[in-house]
């Protein structure tokens, strides 16, 4: 199977796939334990506004999407902390507004015939060397945040009320978790697209949750599981000529079903 990675674009896809899998494993864990899955979906879709914004102004796509994602995450964090009961309504609103802005801005861009599909379903095969440097830098930023902020992240995620009593700035860390996640979400979208990003952020985490007894191990395990799914998906999509992002997601779902089946059989045998 290694001969398929002889071409440049497949090598780039492999490296990007591994880096993004590690990123999505880490931030996916943060998103799941903080019950921010819907928020993450909102951020992913809002960033489509940033894609339109970047195309309209001729900026790099990643920059535009990141700006929108960060603004959306700060806004959502503020609303989530202030109006806990109504936050789902606001997320839905921001979600739709972001996408609508994106569509209109692309309409307004003269002569631009955008390939919408690549943003919705990912374009890992179009990753360039420059993108890989960006992805790697983001991975480093996320790792630094986790290593130095671990005990506060853990305290805020597990029991935010108690963290507040212990003198931790809960609002600040909640916002930081969301902002860091939003950057991770945007970069993960490069691989599987904004429609499928939620699956990539949650399926490996779901499996990792069952086999790890601490947050840090959950992050490591999800990163590795995600890497396995991504590489398998990449290989399968190459041989069958499928859309890579969608293949990665289906491989992940198959992996999850397999895991649950094995777990069930194991528990029966153990009895």
């Amino acid at each position: 199977m290694f001969e398929i990675f002889t071409t440049d674009f497949m090598q780039n896809a492999l490296i990007a796939g591994i880096i993004v899998s590690l990123i999505s494993g880490i931030i996916g864990s943060l998103i799941v334990v903080n019950r921010m899955v819907f928020l993450a979906g909102g951020i992913a879709h809002t960033s489509y506004g940033g894609i339109g914004f970047a195309i309209f102004l001729g900026l790099p796509i990643f920059l535009g999407a990141s700006i929108f994602a960060i603004i959306a995450s700060i806004l959502m964090s503020f609303l989530a902390l202030k109006y806990k009961d109504r936050v789902d309504t606001f997320i839905g609103l921001i979600w739709a507004t972001g996408m609508a802005i994106g569509v209109i801005l692309i309409d307004l861009t003269p002569g631009y015939n955008v390939d919408l599909m690549s943003y919705l379903f990912g374009s890992i095969l179009a990753v360039e060397t420059g993108d890989i440097y960006t992805m790697f830098s983001i991975l480093i930023v996320i790792l630094v945040f986790i290593v130095f902020g671990y005990r506060n992240i853990l305290a805020v995620s597990y029991d935010s009320q108690y963290a507040h009593i212990r003198g931790i700035n809960v609002g600040l860390f909640y916002t930081l978790i969301l902002v860091i996640s939003s950057i991770g979400i945007v970069i993960t979208m490069k691989v599987v697209g904004l429609i499928l990003v939620i699956a990539m952020l949650t399926i490996p985490v779901f499996i990792a949750e069952k086999i790890s007894n601490s947050l840090i191990w959950m992050m490591i395990a999800s990163g590795l599981i995600s890497t396995l799914f991504t590489i398998t998906g990449l290989v399968v999509s190459y041989y069958y000529n499928f859309t890579t992002g969608a293949t990665i997601i289906l491989v992940s779902v198959a992996g999850m079903i397999l895991f649950l089946g094995v777990q069930k059989i194991y528990s029966i045998v153990k009895k």
Binding site: V33, F148, R151, L154, A155, Y162, R166, W217
Partner: protein, 246 residues
């Protein structure tokens, strides 16, 4: 004269103009064991949140060891009401206890050896040290409650607050928790918000009935020595307190 731990002076608190607490006065000495009882919505949790500094006092004054509660964080231990939340969270018992440390003198990353030793010590104090590396979700309700008490003990508090500590625990587990609190009471002042009046009365030396106003009973021995059928009916007891107030 024994040392004053908690002083509440003329405290009145309102949510949007409706008074929840009115003219609360309370004073606790070293090694007091106060039970707070009262109907739901009577202001018990509000008072607890004010003592903890989660809510800010507007009228009146609360002092802990003669200081504002926000300056006494490391002297307050707190065990929240619902400890069954987030049981699927991937976290070890020892990590939960480590959260009890105040965050102002923490190392650059991770936890210091002193903090770890302290957390293990707290777990030993509640008899849970052999579960240090277990996942929190794998424990029973009573065991988890002991872990939460260990977390509150991490900073060696002088005042320990517990909100309904035995609400979802079986009878045997409840008794163990109260025996533990009795031991801890030799070292610190304890406030328990509870519905288990019959149990609480055997351990508390003061009882406060809160329903907007606070009625304090300093000498409860005359109640606890004359229970009928070995137990107090909660309704009867509440009526007793209420009558005194009226």
């Amino acid at each position: 004269m024994s040392k004053k731990i908690l002083e509440i002076d003329n405290l009145t608190f309102d949510y949007d103009g409706t008074n929840v607490l009115e003219n609360i006065n309370l004073s606790l000495d070293e090694k007091d064991f106060l039970a707070i009882i009262g109907p739901n919505g009577g202001g018990k949790s509000t008072l607890l949140n004010l003592i903890l500094g989660i809510l800010e006092t507007k009228n009146g004054k609360i002092t802990i060891n003669n200081q504002d509660p926000s300056k006494q964080l490391s002297n307050i231990g707190y065990v929240p009401q619902n400890t069954n939340i987030n049981t699927s969270f991937p976290i070890k018992v020892i990590e939960v206890v480590l959260m009890g440390h105040i965050s102002d003198k923490k190392p650059l990353f991770g936890y210091s050896d002193a903090e770890k030793a302290c957390a293990l010590g707290a777990l030993t104090q509640v008899g849970m040290e052999q579960f240090a590396n277990a996942k929190i979700g794998s424990l029973s309700g009573g065991q988890r409650q002991r872990v939460m008490i260990a977390r509150a003990l991490c900073n060696h508090p002088t005042l320990l607050l517990l909100d309904e500590p035995t609400a979802s625990i079986d009878v045997d587990g409840q008794r163990k928790i109260y025996e533990l609190l009795k031991d801890l009471n030799k070292l610190m002042t304890i406030i328990v918000v509870s519905h288990d009046i019959s149990v609480t009365l055997n351990y508390a030396n003061k009882v406060a009935y809160i329903n907007k106003f606070l009625t304090l009973h300093n000498n409860i021995s005359r109640f606890s020595t004359t229970p009928q059928n070995g137990h107090f009916c909660e309704v009867e007891l509440m009526q007793m307190f209420r009558n005194k107030n009226v």
